[in-house]
C-alpha cells in the first residue's frame, strides 16, 4: 500500500513539474508553437496523468476512512 501511494504521489509530482516546464520553459527553450507534435503529446499525457494521479490519491484517502 505504501509503495502504491509513493508511486502515485511521484506521478502527481512529476506531472506538476512537467506542467510547469511545458508552460513556462518549453516556449523559450524548445518551441513557441504548441502545435508541435511533441508538445501536444506531452501536454495531453501530462494532463491525463495529473488528473488520474489526483483521482487515485484521493480515492485511496477516502478508502482508508471506510
Amino acid at each position: 500500500m505504501t509503495f502504491f501511494r509513493v508511486l502515485i504521489q511521484t506521478a502527481l509530482i512529476a506531472s506538476v513539474v512537467a506542467m510547469l516546464l511545458l508552460t513556462f520553459v518549453w516556449p523559450i527553450a524548445v518551441s513557441a508553437d504548441p502545435d508541435h507534435p511533441a508538445f501536444k503529446l506531452a501536454a495531453i499525457t501530462t494532463f491525463g496523468m495529473f488528473l488520474l494521479a489526483l483521482a487515485v490519491l484521493l480515492a485511496a484517502r477516502l478508502g482508508q476512512r471506510d
Binding site: 501536454a43 484517502r61 476512512r65
Partner: protein, 202 residues
Amino acid sequence: MQGPSHLLVSWYFAEAAGLESPGDRRIVAWSGLAPDVDVLAYAGALVYYRFDKDLAFENVWRLVHHRHTHGLTFVLLTGIAAWLLAARSPARARVALLAVIAAAIHNFFDVVAGGPTWPVYPYWPISDLPLSASWSWTIGEWPNVLILLVCLAGMLAYARVAGRSPLECFGDRADAWFVRTARQEPPATGPSPRSRIVRWII
C-alpha cells in the same frame, strides 16, 4: 477549463497534498481560480458600456482575458498573497508554494483546455509571446464537461465519506450544510432563520 473546475481541481490538489486546515485548503483552492479574476474587467466593462455585451467583449474582454493574469508575474503575486493570508498557519510556506503551483498549472490547463482562441501570455509583461494550441478543447467540449461532472461527483463522494468538501471554499457553514445534505442527516439544531435575522438586526 471551466471556472468551477479550476476551483474544484485546486481544492482536490490541496487535499491530496495533505493540508490539514480548511483555511489553508481554501487559500490554495482560490489561488487556483485566481488567474480568472480578469472576469471582473468584463463585468466592469459591461457596466461602463451600459450592458452592451458586444462593446464590452470587443473593447475589453478580448484584450484583457488571459493576458495580464495568466503568466508568471501573476503566479508570483498569488504566492505573495497566499503567504500573507496564511500568516497564522503553521504550514505557511507550504501553503504559499501550493498556491503558486495551483495558479501556475491554471495556465497549463488553459493551454490544453481553454480553447484555441484564448492564448495565455506566460511571460507578460516582459514578453507578449502568446501560447495557444489549435488542438486545445473549447470550454463546451466534452472533455471539459466530463472533468466538471467528475469533479462534482467527487465533491458529493468526498462529503459523504470524509465529512468535508470543496464547498468549504465558501465557508465552514456552507460545507457543513452540504455534508449534512450529502449524508442525508437532519439539519443542525441551531437558531432558527427568524432568530438569526433578529440577531443580525440587533
